[in-house]
């Protein structure tokens, strides 16, 4: 019996093959992963900037804290530290201050958020600003500018000497990464150009950012003014510093009354508290863990008995030394963001330096009143600008510990003639860092120098 089947047509098969040959590219347009996106929308930009582990947790300020004089390490502790770069950083060695190679170090921590910011700024040029998206568009651009300016400034604190009008054009600043291409050969800009870029970015941010944000992990206008004030202070442009501090406080001047805090928790100062303008933290620094870093003995002794910071900021170690626990990160991480307490102190210093003694003391007292036990605070008073300044600088050091600000304060105050010399004693050896020493600018990681051909800081 002959099977009754349809004789398959050769042309049918050819048709199928033709179809497979000709299948249009739409078959291939399917995204390989739904979670992947090309950075193209404002939502994508915001998503990048909301990556808190990159944008808000990468400050290089730890290098500043380790190098400055608010902490010390006993010899046993220093000997027990496995991270050799940290040991070297602590004794102001000339080189090899950062782990190299594939292990991220503080240099990388700075430029990773900058790359994010640059991606956003470049991509924004492809997104038209319209009436409908204007506020979001401005906000996103402002955030990216803020992050770039803030990161550059923090890096300048670590790897550059203090800004000095006389030498700023020739002193070595930072490589200015303003785009995303990795083929671009970088050179180090001068300190002047570096600070100008910082100011440009932050001014742009201050213009574009909204006055308030959903959460302090996102930058806001008062945060941008605060960092501008910080930048001007380190440039010793006190008038501008004061003006930016005023602008910041005009938008937000909240303070946290320390009387409302309990000393029981391990870390009594909450994260995102009323003073935090922008949340930016750092951690994972071996020399600064709570078991390792001891607070300078004289500094600790300078807190009065009724000063709440004496208990809220410090933890007594078994050996009688003190550890710092007062971070605005509310954890073992340290705070390097912007907060109103710093802005008040900048305002006070700027006022004092421009002769407004009353105004200066007003700013200082407004802040300190929240730091003392209720009804115990005696308002500070000063007869003249110099006296006011001395008080303000002392309180600045006491208020802003472990934020990476002291290192730049030493450098800038030495330019004002303060003559602060640093000294460490370890295992019977004494290490000195005299004012004006080139080691106040830390050595850039050697592998970066090797690969980029950039100039190393003079040693």
């Amino acid at each position: 019996m002959k099977p009754i089947i349809l004789r398959p047509s050769l042309y049918g098969l050819l048709l199928l093959i033709t179809f497979l040959f000709g299948s249009c590219d739409s078959f291939l347009d399917e995204s390989p992963d739904k979670k992947l996106a090309l950075p193209s929308t404002l939502q994508d930009m915001q998503a990048l900037l909301d990556n808190h582990s990159v944008m808000n947790q990468n400050s290089p300020a730890g290098s500043s804290v380790t190098s400055a004089d608010n902490i010390y390490l006993p010899s046993v502790t220093w000997n027990a530290m496995s991270n050799e770069s940290e040991r070297r950083k602590y004794t102001w060695e000339k080189d090899n201050l950062f782990r190299m190679g594939y292990r991220p170090n503080h240099w990388y921590n700075v430029f990773q958020p900058i790359y994010h910011a640059n991606t956003v700024l470049e991509s924004l040029s492809g997104i038209p600003r319209t009436a409908a998206n204007a506020s979001t568009w401005d906000d996103v651009k402002g955030q990216a500018s803020f992050y770039r300016g803030e990161a550059l400034l923090a890096a300048a604190y670590v790897w550059a000497l203090a800004y000095d009008e006389a030498t700023a054009s020739t002193d070595l600043g930072l490589p200015l990464r303003l785009g995303t291409s990795f083929h671009e050969q970088l050179v180090r800009a001068s300190v002047r150009d570096t600070y100008e870029q910082v100011m440009r970015d932050l001014r742009e941010a201050a213009t574009l950012l909204p006055a308030g944000t959903q959460h302090p992990v996102r930058p806001s206008k008062p945060a941008a003014y605060a960092v501008l004030a910080r930048a001007c202070l380190s440039m010793r442009k006190y008038v501008e510093a004061g003006a930016y501090a005023d602008s910041s406080l005009a938008l937000y001047d909240g303070l946290l009354d320390y009387n409302q805090l309990s000393a029981t928790p391990t870390y009594p100062l909450p994260a995102f508290n009323a003073e935090v303008l922008h949340h930016n933290i750092f951690g994972g620094v071996q020399s600064l863990t709570i078991g390792n870093a001891r607070v300078d003995t004289l500094l600790y002794a300078s807190y009065a008995a009724d000063d709440l910071r004496r208990t809220l900021f410090f933890r007594r170690n078994a050996d009688g030394t003190n550890a710092f626990r007062g971070s605005y990160a509310g954890s073992s991480s340290y705070f390097a963001g912007a907060a109103t307490n710093e802005v008040y102190l900048i305002q006070a210093e700027a006022r004092a330096r421009t002769g407004d003694v009353t105004g200066a003391m007003e700013s200082l007292n407004k802040l300190l009143r929240t730091r003392w036990k209720t009804d115990t605070f005696q308002e500070y008073a000063a007869d003249n600008a110099a006296g006011a300044l001395e008080l303000i600088l002392q309180e600045r050091r006491k208020e802003l510990l472990f934020r990476g600000l002291r290192w730049m304060d030493i450098k800038r105050l030495n330019r004002e003639g303060a003559g602060i010399a640093l000294q460490r004693v370890l295992n019977g050896n004494t290490y000195l860092l005299p004012p004006g020493d080139p080691r106040f600018a830390l050595a850039i990681p050697e592998d970066v120098i090797e690969q980029s051909g950039m100039q190393q800081n003079p040693r």
Partner: protein, 1063 residues
């Protein structure tokens, strides 16, 4: 497109129009009546011939009513047959197999079945008999010992199958695996090795290029057993059981408990643990450190402390593992295979069940079912369907050495799991024990970790189900033209469940960590609800393949053409999910609610923490479009030219449409010298020379040309989803290409006493994706991926089969010998520091002219006789400036170059002795010409992470020791660069060369051939001894170079006993 049509028209047009009558028939093997595809049938004294198709059928145009057919097929005795038309009955020509030799004569490429004699490319085959000499539970693990040109690289993190070495740096390096025509997307261990009919390894470009952009690393084609037409019902049964010895823990060489305690005491006195004793985080401390701390603060008397410490000196954690954790592994295998075939229907049904328990009591069960049939309702039409089902269940067992301990999974070497009465003892884990014991005043859950019990409470189970269904239609037109449509659907569902029961340490620790404990005796508040924690994962893979193909198999006169042209599309989608439930009660299936957006203080450290959400969803899609054509033309049965071309396109992200298509081609020539009239060699009656050249490709979908973002999760701060970069904008990326030239010689001596092949190849891989250093000021890390590298490889593969004695006693041998060397020809890794060459482990060095994975070391200048410090060289001078040696600018000339980290010569030799019903096979294998680093003491790891090595006992302690040891002295504080220098120094580099006795297998036919009962065709009992150990090794440390992972153990020997029967 049009051109290809034209080509087909042209090929069709070549058919001469002389056929007046057609003679049809079929060629089968005398051994088992199986069809012989690709056999040559020709008219004697005429120029007409045909080639049998897949089912052994042929049709030959004839002009004479009578004549003589010559039928020949490699590996079979040629035959002549006188015919007279019309044929009285369907013509079936039965060929008797020639003596053992090139039996596996049909090569399957996954796209076509090709007679080996007309192949130009390099194909290595593993026949069923050799494959089944081992009893391993999966297909690939059986190949290493027997396949030619294939090796398993164990120097990296995971064992990696390599065909002819490496062809890529960062792309896929393992071969493509094809099961029955289509790439297998599922887990290859789903395939039951008992279902395997044959395995073909496509090694050169001509063989592999038909697979295009995924074939750059070779292709392994697995063909499963199928039913055949004209066959009575047969059943094969195979049952075996394997017992594996307990692993030998003495292979591990941790520091002795006593030495470790001495170090801890010395460190304690130096204040090393002060900051940890002081730390808010209450970090874990070893028992000895806690005893010393109690001694110091007076809560323990010095006598008691010393007594406790001295008791610990006697403990060896390896004994504890051996006694409490390890056991003999047992594997059982049951397989049944039924097949039958009538004229129109051939079917096969296979069922297999595997039941394994490993050395740590982890369980693994696999059930596999395969059903395949082919229906031929009309002589020209074949419909085939197949359905495969695999179900696998695996469950976790006890923890092994190196799987529990501190953050690094290191354990103090005096850890004990149980006391004298067998009561489980806790390990010091995560927090200071003294703190754990007192915190909470009894209000918290027990915070101890008991390794002896915990595995009962924390159990993971994985279930996998794979269903594959395929459908094929083949129609044969006249003139040897046929068409195929094939479709396959696969769905693999994997469900994982990790249950941390309420009693598990994981769950108790989690609940405790987040517990809010008011001071005094207030009631505790649990933020993470009490109960267990359940993590569930699900992955669904669904893939579809559709292929349309035209085949031409045509002979006329002196000409034979075999050609295919086709196109296919492939779509594979993976969706995955992961969820976690807290406070889970597996009895009642209830769970608790947690708040993922609030930060809670950690009970110990006080730091604020979110409760981890641990939920995730995935959705990935791979799509490929491919078009291919392959043609071989043979003239006078001895000259063959082949051509193959293919192009692929995929949905890789960000590729511009123009870059999507990647065209690849190959061509080849072969010449069967022994068929030339002038060739008269009685000694070598078969000699064939072939050569190919061509390209295949490789791609890694992970690297794309544009910046892509990966949406990570919802930010707990802004409640907005946040993203990270998945890929950084990198506009220059393109496909990788591998070009290979292959020349081969196939030979057979008289009566096939000695048969084999010798091949030599050179390959060049270019546009390789490689990490290219960038200054990390760019913000994208220190390296980016670019098509910057190229490499060249060359090697040779020799395969010889011989019948040494062929009497009542038979002795046959099979030899595989491969050489493979590859070197980097172009790669600027911009190595800036010496350590980048030397970094211990398996790493790309990228030095031009050297292997991709080269072993370098720091030159060694002995130990300093005064201090025991290791000494190297800086600028030719003996130096102890380790920072300069290690992190200084690299000068490769100043480093010691040893050689490749991958074997450059490897092979195996199998010998089989058969006498009457007994057969005995032994196989050795070897790997030669490579280097590895031996582990030794690292003081940093010893101090920080409980990682010690027994070499500590051999360290320099006093002047003079430098003459007998190279182990540096202990120094404090530790200098990490000194550790790095020693770990990478030349004294720790060893030759990897070794010879291994892979297995001995014996089989005995239980039925005497003459008096065998009718119900069984045969019945065989077999015994296999596997992993019998290393016969010779070049290193004097007793190390197994195939065991490179930290804390890994050599595979212990195994014994299997089994029974095979056919009825």
């Amino acid at each position: 497109m049009k051109k290809l049509f034209f080509l087909f028209c042209l090929l069709g047009g070549l058919a001469p129009a002389v056929a007046q009558q057609a003679l049809s028939g079929r060629v089968v093997s005398a051994a088992d009546n199986s069809p012989l595809p690709g056999a040559s049938v020709r008219l004697k004294d005429a120029a007409t011939g045909a080639i049998t198709n897949h089912e052994g059928y042929f049709t030959l145009p004839v002009t004479q009513q009578t004549g003589v057919l010559q039928v020949s097929f490699l590996g079979f005795v040629s035959q002549e047959y006188a015919y007279t038309l019309p044929l009285p009955e369907p013509l079936v020509l039965v060929l008797a197999p020639a003596h053992q030799g090139l039996q596996e004569v049909v090569i399957s490429t996954g796209y076509q079945q090709l007679p080996r004699e007309r192949a130009t490319g390099s194909f290595a085959q593993v026949d069923k008999a050799t494959f089944n000499e081992q009893v391993g539970p999966d297909v690939l693990s059986r190949l290493e010992a027997v396949a030619n040109g294939l090796t398993v690289n164990r120097a990296g993190f995971e064992p990696q199958l390599l065909v002819r070495g490496l062809s890529s740096i960062n792309g896929a390096q393992s071969p493509l695996i094809v099961v029955d025509n289509f790439p297998y997307e599922g887990d290859i261990t789903n395939i039951n090795p008992n279902d395997v009919e044959s395995i073909t390894i496509l090694r050169d470009a001509a063989a592999a290029s038909i697979w295009g952009a995924r074939a750059g690393n070779g292709v392994i084609v697995i063909t499963t057993k199928k039913g055949r037409y004209h066959q009575p019902l047969s059943a094969e049964i195979n049952v075996n059981v394997t017992a594996v010895a307990k692993p030998d823990l003495s292979y591990l060489r941790p520091i002795s408990a006593s030495d470790f305690i001495d170090v801890e005491q010395a460190l304690f006195e130096k204040g090393y643990f002060d900051s940890q004793l002081n730390a808010v985080s209450r970090p874990e401390l070893s028992p000895v450190v806690e005893i010393l701390a109690r001694k110091k603060n007076g809560t323990l008397s010095p006598e008691q402390a010393d007594a406790q410490i001295n008791a610990l000196r006697q403990v060896d954690v390896r004994d504890e593992f051996d006694r409490h954790m390890y056991q003999q592994a047992v594997r059982q295998q049951y397989a049944l295979h039924l097949r039958s075939g009538s004229d129109v229907l051939a079917w096969s049904l296979a069922a297999g069940y595997d039941r394994n328990t490993d050395e740590l009591a982890a369980t693994y069960n696999r059930l596999s079912l395969r059903f395949q049939n082919t229906l031929r309702p009309h002589r020209n039409l074949a419909l085939s369907t197949g359905a495969f089902y695999t179900q696998r269940e695996s469950g976790s067992g006890k923890p092994g050495y190196g799987q529990i301990g501190n953050w690094n999974n290191n354990l103090y070497p005096y850890a004990r799991f149980a006391d004298e009465n067998g009561t489980p003892l806790p390990l010091h884990k995560d927090y200071t024990q003294a703190y754990k014991d007192t915190v909470g005043g009894g209000r918290l859950k027990d915070w101890n970790y008991y390794p002896l019990e915990d595995y009962r409470h924390a159990h993971s189970a994985t279930t996998l189900q794979d269903v594959t269904a395929n459908f094929g239609l083949q129609y044969t037109w006249r003139h040897g033209l046929s068409g195929d449509v094939k479709y396959q659907y696969e769905r693999q569902q994997t469900e994982g469940q990790q249950l941390y029961g309420e009693e598990s340490y994981f769950a108790r620790d989690f609940v405790n960590r987040y517990a809010q404990l008011p001071p005094g005796t207030g009631a505790i508040r649990y933020v993470v609800p009490e109960g267990g924690i359940l993590d569930q994962t699900g992955t669904l893979l669904a893939s579809q393949n559709l292929r349309g193909q035209l085949n031409l198999d045509r002979s006329w006169g002196n000409h034979t053409v075999t050609a295919i042209i086709g196109a296919e599309m492939r779509h594979a989608r993976v969706t995955g999910s992961r969820t976690r439930l807290y406070g889970y009660d597996p009895e009642r299936l209830t769970f608790g609610e947690v708040d993922y957006t609030t930060r809670y203080p950690h009970l110990v450290t006080g730091g604020l923490l979110f409760i981890p959400d641990n939920s995730n969803r995935d959705h990935r899609t791979d799509r490929f479009l491919s078009q291919y054509a392959n043609a071989a033309y043979t003239f006078r049965d001895r000259y063959t030219v082949s051509l193959s071309a293919r192009r692929d396109a995929s949905n890789l992200f960000g590729l511009k449409t123009n870059d999507r298509w990647n065209p690849l081609w190959s061509s080849g020539l072969s010449w069967e010298l022994s068929k030339e009239p002038f060739y008269r060699s009685g000694f070598l009656p078969f000699l064939k020379l072939r050569s190919t050249y061509g390209y295949s490709g490789s791609t890694n979908p992970a690297f794309t040309a544009v910046s892509t973002l990966f949406y990570v999760a919802t930010s707990p701060y802004t409640q907005n989803t946040y993203a990270r970069f998945s890929n950084y904008a990198n506009p220059d990326l393109s496909w990788e290409t591998v070009g290979m030239w292959n020349i081969g010689l196939d030979f057979g001596t008289k009566d096939n006493r000695l048969t084999g092949s010798l091949e030599y190849y050179r390959k060049r891989a270019f546009d390789l994706l490689a990490l290219y250093p960038v200054d990390y000021t760019t913000g994208v890390g220190s390296q980016v991926m670019r098509n910057v590298a190229s490499m060249a490889g060359r090697g040779a593969d020799l395969e010889i089969r011989s019948r040494n004695i062929d009497r009542a006693l038979q002795w046959t041998s099979q030899l595989n010998l491969s050489l493979n060397r590859e070197k980097v020809t172009d790669y600027y890794l911009g190595e800036s520091a010496a350590y980048q060459y030397v970094t211990p482990g398996y790493r790309i060095t990228g030095e031009t002219g050297k292997p991709l994975h080269a072993v370098y070391s720091y030159k060694w200048a002995g130990l300093d006789p005064q201090t025991g410090n290791p000494q190297g060289f800086v600028d030719g001078e003996v130096s102890q400036d380790y920072f300069a040696i290690v992190y200084g600018e690299a000068k490769p000339d100043e480093l010691q170059y040893h050689g490749s980290a991958l074997p450059t010569a490897f092979g195996s030799l199998g010998n089989t002795l058969s006498w009457k019903r007994l057969s005995l096979t032994a196989r050795i294998s070897w790997k030669l010409g490579y280097y590895f680093r031996a582990p030794s003491i690292q003081y940093g790891s010893l101090f920080d992470a409980w990682g010690g090595h027994a070499d500590f006992a051999r360290r320099w302690q006093q002047p003079g020791d430098e003459r007998t040891t190279h182990v540096p002295s202990l120094t404090y504080p530790n200098d990490s660069a000194r550790d790095v220098f020693y770990a990478g120094s030349e004294v720790l580099v060893e030759k990897g060369d070794h010879v291994r006795l892979q297995y001995i297998s014996a089989s005995y036919d239980l039925l005497r051939p003459d008096t065998g009962r009718k119900s069984f065709k045969n019945m065989q009992a077999y015994l296999n001894l596997g992993n019998l150990g290393i016969l010779w090794r070049a290193n004097r440390r007793g190390l197994d170079p195939d065991v490179s992972a930290l804390n890994a153990l050599p595979q212990p020997p195994s014994v299997s006993l089994g029974l095979k029967a056919t009825l």
